[in-house]
Amino acid sequence: MAYEERNALMAADRTGVAGAQTVPPFGRSIGRDLSARVLPPLLAVASVILLWWALYLIYPRLLPSPLSTVREAIRLVSDGTFFFHMYQSLRRVFVGAVIAMFFSVGIGIYMGTVAMGERFFQPLIVLGLTIPGLMWALIAVMLFGINEFSPYFAVTVTIFPMLVINIWAGVKSLDKELMDMSHVFHFTKWMKISQVILPQLVPNIFAATRYGLGLAWKVVVVVEMFGTSNGVGYQVMKSYQVFNMEGVIAWTLTFVLAMIVIEYGLINFAEQRLTAWRPKIDVWRR
């Protein structure tokens, strides 16, 4: 190859590279990105449905068909029954969780900052963690009878130790340098709590909320089965008593779907809003 020719080729090569660099590499793989995100969970759900269908075809008396179950679920949603009972259950979970959150933030901060507080509450928390939510559900109904106080109490008491443990761990790992900084710049006590301590606890509070809600749904359903006259748990029990398998599964499925929407939708949204200050980290980036 002649010298000039090669030179010209290299120049073309260089401009080619430079040209590629001036175009920002965004937006090329949105489709691939989306399929990589959406496809695996869809496949997971589809495989469960397929398995169910296969089992139904083999043992038709054991399981209701997915189709009739979905039809039942659609009926529940379209005539509004679902929303009424779902609202009852949600309210119970929510009230119980808020009460538990309120006390656990206080006690968690106290345990993390005062040695005597830690020594006093630690055995109680360990004890609380080992008591199953089902026990609390029973105890609550026996103590308070069939009224709204029972589910509130059961939810609060069941998730409380879980929340405290998370917040306590967060308080113990607070950044001392930032605390010193807030002291040096004469932050008031309230400024220290709201601007320095609580923001550091946000990841712990979200972890606690996820665990806590997961427990709370289960407890609430149990309380409702024998301690209330409405709510998702009560409906499941009613279907069970007339051996309506479609009803039991339809209620369970719709309930689970609603929980997923709340956990992935609401909580993830809130978490992303609250941690917008953090640059995104891609751990598996190559």
Partner: protein, 253 residues
């Protein structure tokens, strides 16, 4: 204008086994009003302990710290502080970080906006006011820390090895900015470093400390002219300081 007097300061710590040891011994010096006093000494000699005592994070076991402003002595005045690491709240924007310091300083809310703008402009970061700290470089964050310490408009500003955690080129720019602002704003600055050239460049007065337990070794007035320029005379003064610090150290051994 205020000055800071350290009188017969003494501080003890406990080892792991409980036996006490002295970190600061009979230390007395003054940080003159409107001047930069640089504190140098071997590492681990108790410089940071002294700064912590000045801002009230620790208590001296003996001696006193006097904050004199306009002829009156004050208890725990507001002190601006530039830390070794920026120590910004990562969940607050640059502007909000400074605003919190202003709130702590008791500055009226209506004045925050202008003050934040003014001091961010002084450190050259005015367009970052709504940015979060983690999106800034290390040197920029340190600039924000500097802006925060100056924005509270305290009479006394402490700087604890503020450029030790950034690379040398960035540190050089930061020194220039900081020295320029000290000359412009006439705050009483107490500056801790173990970098002798930095001490020579930044200081109006240099306090050299002995090895632990720290006590006053020498009080040197910086002969170099103001405004300060980075040049060979900085290094010759630094070499002069070095003979004082290292020779004394060897004499101790």
């Amino acid at each position: 204008m205020a000055e800071l007097l350290v009188k017969d300061a003494e501080k003890w710590f406990r080892r792991e086994d409980g036996s006490p040891f002295k970190v600061i011994d009979q230390l007395s010096f003054e940080a003159r009003a409107g001047c930069v006093t640089v504190l140098i000494g071997p590492s681990g000699c108790g410089k940071s302990t002294l700064l912590n005592s000045i801002v009230g994070l620790e208590k001296l076991d003996r001696g006193e710290l006097l904050f004199v402003s306009d002829g009156k002595t004050r208890e725990r005045p507001l002190i601006g502080y530039v830390f070794q690491s920026p120590r910004l709240l990562p969940w607050k924007t640059i502007g909000a970080n400074i605003a919190l310091a202003l709130k702590g300083a008791g500055v009226a809310r209506s004045a925050w906006g202008l003050q934040i703008e003014r001091y961010l402009k002084l450190v050259g970061l005015e367009e970052y006011v709504n940015q979060y700290p983690l999106y800034l470089s290390g040197g920029q964050r340190q600039r924000v820390g500097l802006a925060r310490a100056l924005a509270v408009e305290s009479d006394i500003v402490l700087m604890d090895e503020p450029f030790a955690s950034v690379d040398e080129l960035t540190a050089r720019q930061l020194r220039e900015t900081t020295r320029g602002l000290c000359e412009q704003l006439h705050r009483t600055v107490l500056f801790v470093t173990h970098n002798l050239a930095e001490a020579a460049y930044m200081s109006d007065f240099v306090v050299t400390l002995t090895r632990r337990p720290a006590s006053l070794d020498e009080y040197v007035s910086n002969p170099l002219p103001t405004p300060r320029r980075w040049g060979p005379e900085i290094y010759s003064f630094a070499a002069q300081l070095e003979t004082k610090v290292t020779l004394k150290e060897e004499a101790d051994l």
